[in-house]
């Protein structure tokens, strides 16, 4: 039965779908962005809202029980740990002298591509 859903299930589905959109956006960013530092943004950061929406969806689906409280705790841990991971990776790269790509380099790259193709 297609209509055999409660409002809670529909709401939860919408939230989880919204979260998935941000996860997909994160994956697209990972593929499209040019260098290490910009990819850190895609991998580490786009997950925050994706995670937030998915967890809200799961909590709505579960109802306000002890399990929902535990999920909220997992969500808080993700929020505390995610930036630490991103920061440590980028700090290691920065301290070891990995060059930061700027907008100028990007324009240069696009020109080179144009030269190759035409």
């Amino acid at each position: 039965m297609i209509c055999d859903f409660t409002i809670r299930e529909i709401l939860a589905t919408l939230f989880i779908l919204g979260g998935s959109v941000f996860f997909v956006g994160s994956a697209i960013g990972m593929l499209r962005l040019p260098d290490f530092y910009t990819r850190i943004h895609a991998s580490g950061n786009s997950e925050t809202l994706g995670c937030m929406l998915s967890f809200i969806g799961l909590i709505i689906y579960e109802g306000f029980t002890i399990t929902a409280l535990k999920m909220a705790m997992v969500f808080i841990v993700v929020f505390l740990a995610n930036p630490i991971g991103s920061h440590i990776l980028s700090k290691a790269a920065y301290k070891s002298g990995h060059r930061v790509l700027t907008a100028k380099d990007l324009v240069g790259e696009e020109d080179e591509d144009a030269n190759i193709h035409h």
Binding site: F22, G25, I28, G29, R32, L33, D35, Y37, T38, I40, H41, A42, G44, N45, S46, T48, L49, M52, I66, L69, K70, M73, F79, L80, N82, P83, I84, S86, H87, S90, K91, Y94, K95, V100, L101, T102, A103, L106
Partner: protein, 191 residues
């Protein structure tokens, strides 16, 4: 370099009894949430474990400031201020996340990656942690490095993300959270 003696003699900001009680309640609430049962056995275990953890961990949760004259409790922050800060941060996350998603999925990759720098000085060392962590948590900005002089080096992905860090609203909110005066100065880029 801070001498060990001066750290031992440092004055603790706030009342240690209040700190201990707050930490105990936090840990006990965490225990109760994880067990999810109100049997006497679990409550007694929880009380004993929480008390032992507080006794062992309280000295580790005191961080000295730069000149070593004061020690700050890590969780020594008003809960209402913290909640209002969290809500504000969540909203910033939503806005920044949509901004980054638009930039990375746009046709010609609308990004402007660069490193921006600013000075931020407060007395409470936890303010640095919270600021650096909040900036990294916000999509489009990652804290690359924070040095001893309070120089923050931030990698910003889009124009909007760089402006968001440099306009000083983040710094003001974090300083308000800890109720402290702060110094903030943007380091101009050398071209």
């Amino acid at each position: 370099m801070i001498k060990q003696e001066s750290v031992d003699n440092a004055k603790i900001v706030g009342s240690p009894i209040v700190h201990n009680v707050c930490l105990f309640l936090l840990l006990f609430a965490f225990w109760m949430a994880l067990t999810g049962s109100l049997k006497t056995k679990f409550i007694v275990y929880g009380l004993i474990t929480a008390a032992t953890t507080v006794w062992l961990c309280y000295p580790l949760l005191l961080v000295p400031n730069r000149d070593g004259s004061k020690k700050y409790f890590v969780f020594g922050v008003s809960i209402f201020k913290f909640i209002s800060y969290s809500v504000w941060l969540m909203w910033q996350l939503v806005l920044a996340n949509i901004d980054v998603l638009k930039a990375t999925t746009s046709q010609n990759l609308d990004i402007d990656p660069k490193v921006v720098r600013f000075y931020f000085k407060v007395d409470n060392p936890m303010a640095y942690v919270v600021l650096a962590n909040s900036i990294t948590l916000t999509p489009g900005t990652v804290t690359l490095n924070v040095d001893d002089d309070g120089l923050f080096e931030i990698h910003a992905l889009t124009v909007g993300a760089a402006e968001g860090v440099l306009d000083g609203s983040f710094q003001k909110k974090v300083a308000d959270l800890y109720g402290e005066d702060y110094e903030f100065a943007v380091v101009e880029e050398e071209e």
